[in-house]
Symmetry: C2
């Protein structure tokens, strides 16, 4: 890998550490770095053409996002989530997505449309570029856009980090696709309830949805983790 291009194009300038964090975050989310893998300062630093000090700043950022696990004097590792972590993530989803569906009555048509948008696969950042050799899932339901109904940038960011963590679970499994497919129909149904502005029905349905999703995920994950 070549050294980082120093973009610095006008506004939104960012430090090298932040750009390195972006790169590493992407690789973790895409599964190029698998959970449990150790990230060597020496190896990655030289591969990215940055000093160890700069790289360590990036590691701190990703550690704070719970994507990396900092073990003192042992290095940083891609996070391996426990079953308790998975349960916690779903408790969060119930809160964040539950609050969102309850506000569907006051949501703009545009906001609702974004939930069903087929492009982007759930992430709102400009990350839709094709990753080599990796099929890009086209899920016609964005839970990120759902949470956006709360109209809170901070909750959006929280959800983004939550979904990134959930990726770690899937990357630690052998057949993650099989867990998504049973839910495409449910997603469609949920979206229908939202468009009909039936907030309470949607909330009830979401609870069942997430209960099932959590249970199925834990069943498939437990033996691996």
């Amino acid at each position: 890998m070549a050294a980082l291009e120093h973009d610095r194009s006008r506004l939104g300038r960012s430090s090298t550490a932040e750009r390195v964090a972006d790169i590493l975050r992407e690789r973790i989310i895409e599964g190029l770095f698998v959970p449990g893998e150790r990230l060597s300062e020496e190896a990655i630093g030289s591969a990215l053409g940055v000093s160890r000090n700069t790289l360590r700043e990036a590691f701190r950022l990703l550690g704070h996002e719970r994507l990396l696990d900092h073990k003192l004097n042992r290095g940083v590792f891609v996070r391996v989530l426990s079953a308790a972590d998975v349960a916690d993530l779903y408790r969060m989803r119930r809160v964040l997505e539950g609050a969102a569906v309850r506000r569907c009555a006051e949501a703009s048509p545009e906001a609702l449309r974004l939930i069903g948008e087929t492009c982007g696969g759930g992430r709102t950042l400009g990350l839709r570029r094709q990753v080599a050799g990796r099929r890009y899932r086209q899920q016609p339901f964005s839970h990120q856009a759902l949470v956006a109904l709360n109209q809170s940038p901070r909750l959006d960011e929280t959800m983004r980090q939550l979904l990134a963590e959930l990726r770690l679970v899937f990357h630690a499994m052998r057949n993650p696709r099989s867990l998504h497919e049973p839910f495409v129909e449910r997603n469609r149904l949920l979206l229908g309830l939202l468009e009909a502005r039936r907030a309470e029905d949607a909330a009830t349905y979401l609870e069942i949805y997430l209960d099932d999703a959590e249970r199925l995920l834990l069943q498939a994950y437990e033996p691996a983790g």
Copy 2:
């Protein structure tokens, strides 16, 4: 300030950067560093007896918590929240605390008791030590403990960061106390609803509570910010 004591006492070891972050976080929350103030790498590094590299790692952590504002080539500043930030924090509170009160029926008596505990003033970490010359508020209602009803460590942490940010608002004002006092009675009333397990009433009351709190806070903050 003397150099950091290298504790390293068995389990729960932490790096110097994390310990420095803890110290700086505490000072920001206590208002010893006021919003807008620039934190010099040189000054703080030598004051704490750590190198610039280590200090910068700590800065990254606090920046990620939104307590510090990183301005490229200009340094780090104690965050100054905008009115939009305050509104966002209250949107979050409605979601996190709203979900919590809705679960009061299934809350343990112990969990409810903690909300009304008079010691600690809202924070669950062992931070109840007396800060010199700073009166310690004894609020008999912990919104942190309320959010804990969600039984999610991650939401607990989110709430902790949220309350830390809110502190920034109060430290940027001249008379922060006056905004708390009108709510001690409301807190008592809300706690009564929770203890009576009247979830829906509590949720409704909380909405009004937070609407008022946000409005009053913005009124008092707008001219300053």
